[in-house]
């Protein structure tokens, strides 16, 4: 099973919204492909984002997923989360 582009875009935009609301300075202009390091997003902010995703989808992101590549931008994180959600659907029917 693979996720649809609509689902992916929705998650990407939700993550951008979270960043804008809670983490990044309001004057910064950014999109889903902007490198997080360029926004000044540090490791503590990344943990905040991960916990938001975990709470939002009821999943646990394994440490093996916390690679530089997966945390490069909002899009790359969204891609990693979508594939985790897919795995969940395949094995447990989750998320409900």
């Amino acid at each position: 099973m693979t996720y649809s582009k609509v689902e992916f875009d929705a998650l990407s935009s939700e993550l951008c919204g979270f960043l804008r609301k809670h983490i990044v300075a309001s004057h910064l202009d950014f999109g889903p492909t902007t490198p997080l390091s360029r926004l000044g997003v540090d490791s503590v902010s990344i943990v905040q984002m991960l916990l938001f995703v975990e709470r939002r989808f009821g999943i646990e992101i394994p440490d093996s997923e916390l690679t530089h590549r997966n945390l490069e931008s909002v899009d790359s994180l969204a891609r990693s989360v979508m594939s985790l959600l897919d795995q969940g659907k395949e094995t447990t029917g989750f998320p409900k």
Binding site: V24, V41, V47, L51
Partner: protein, 456 residues
Amino acid sequence: MSEFDDTMELPASVRLSGCDYFLLASENGEARQSRAASNVCRIVIKLGARLDAEVLRRALTASPLLRWLGRVRYVPRFPMRMPLWTASCAAGGCVVQEHDSRVFQESDTCDWANMISELRFDSAPGFVFHLFQHANDKTTLLMAWHHVLMDAHGAESFLGLVGGSGNQPIPLRQLMFLHAQEENDSWLREIVKLPERLRICRKSARYVARMTRSPFVSLLEGDSMEQKPSAHFHELSFDPGQTERIEAKSRSMNASFCDSLLYLAAAMRAVRAVVKQRGTLDEEESYVVPMPIDMRRRGARGPVLSNHLSFFFFRANPGDMDDLKDLVRLLAGQMKDQIRDEMPQAFSVMMDQFRRVPLPVYSKLLRGPTKGEIASFFFSYTGGISKDLGRFLGLPVEDIVHIPPLSCPPGLTIAFFRNDNRLRFAVSWAEGCLKEEEVALLERSICHDFSESHGQ
């Protein structure tokens, strides 16, 4: 000089942040008179050419904003009124002192830093600048400021304004005033918000009390708190290759992408090694370490003035510290729990709320049952520093070192930062807290924990 929107009228005063007032309360009264180094922060900048004192003096007064910052003082007010930073027209600006190069060698960074033991923030400028002119026509600039006035991020923004590193216009409000919304709050709004804020304060107080409960390790011995001990500093730099290996090790340790947790774990184990060597290891005594977290929005250049910090609190028992990887995992779990429960935000609310408590009462509360001991040592990781400070007033910057402030108790601060692809650590300690050979042991222990083969 950086460009910024300087058209907005500068206010006569701005509120102290909750963290400013918290630091002020820790410094207050007799405690202030008897403590080492009085929480002075320092940045040492090695320049590749000579900087004339007059050029720096001119730069420090080149704009209304910089003149305003130089004139800011803390003025005590009636109890229960919001504490304020006030810019007085009568007050003098920043102080610049020039020193002869022959007295110091270029490598004596920590000796220069030791020149400044105390700074006032009420009757004199909270900043001082020392210029050390060397025989090879280079200059070392030391900026020292009292921690109550601003944190390290603010100081870097301030240096950026003075040295002209920024080229984008910066809105003045973004540079200075985090509490813009709060400034507009009426008494009525404050009262309406009070019950919710008190609930958050209770949650935060309970958590802090649980994390900092006795017994925990302290390196201060005997009467070292009674005297006025002098402060000492030491710094170490890892080369880019070593830094890369250390970061790879952090990633392999499931540190939830937080390199700082490996550094903190190594620092805790190093302190335990010192305790062990002293023969005072007690399995009942935990290691308690607060770690500041910058509450500014990421990517923001300001605010410059005031401390915009909250804290994580970490606690580990000696039994949790035998294995480095296990300790990193424990600390990662504690950090995640605190982020999940919004503890740094709650602690911030508590500090903000305490601003209306009279200073002597607040000070007494902080120093209450534990005589001010709330940690085994202080730790900080400021991440990559001075990324924008490649040149200062047109001169090339060769090196920048942050020397962490020291509070006594606990009498020891261990700080890590990254500069120019190099991981660095700096230790500040009070006389009587550590001996020279114990500092060497700290360093050896940390380097050992960072070595590739250990703890994997």
